[in-house]
């Protein structure tokens, strides 16, 4: 399946993209998405356990993802 991954702010700058399409096996979890991102050339610049959201809700690394999900890797937030 192909999963859409969004990157923001410092993470988008680090990877050089604000959106990725990653091919993952069915049943993949958030941690598998993170592993795949970490394998990218600039992936080392993303921390091992960043905040992640699935479909606009904060999610933990065990959460399963499906092809229609939107996964976002969230840098430390700084609103206000």
């Amino acid at each position: 399946m192909t999963v859409r991954v969004l990157l923001f702010a410092s993470y988008a700058d680090a990877i050089g993209a604000s959106e990725l399409s990653l091919k993952l096996p069915a049943g993949a979890r958030v941690r598998d998405v993170l592993s795949r991102v970490k394998e990218l050339a600039a992936g080392k610049r993303i921390p091992d356990h960043p905040l992640v959201a699935v479909n606009e809700r904060y999610a933990d690394e065990n959460q399963q993802v499906t092809a229609s999900d939107e996964v976002a890797i969230i840098p430390p937030v700084a609103g206000g």
Binding site: F8, A53, Y58, V77, A78, G79, G80
Partner: protein, 143 residues
Amino acid sequence: MRGAIVDRPIDPAALLAEVASPSNGATVLFVGTVRDMNDGTRVTGLDYTAYRAMAERELRDILAEAGERFATSDIVVEHRIGALGLGDASVVIAVAHPHRGEAYEASRYVIEELKGRLPIWKREHYADRKPEWVAATIGASSP
């Protein structure tokens, strides 16, 4: 209750008017503004960027929580994104309640929760070096 991420200047008076009601005896207005110093470095401006759909959804959750905790539906919040200059309002919260205690507490709840939860980031511009993304500043150095 209403929460929005906006890319235009915020009008605090409009938010005050929005929560006004004869049943309320207290209205608290919080205005967060762009400061000229951060950690001893002179700041000349900020760019805010957001995961907008999630930020608006999370803001709605925070407002619902505050409304339930403090028994009021008269809460309006706007958070601005884009390029802001010194002194510009980045976030404005208006809370009205029959009593001042709850109005202050609800306002405080909303600002602390939104600083910790909204997927919004800021890049500071400096007088003497390249812009940088800034990590969260929860606590003493918060507005």
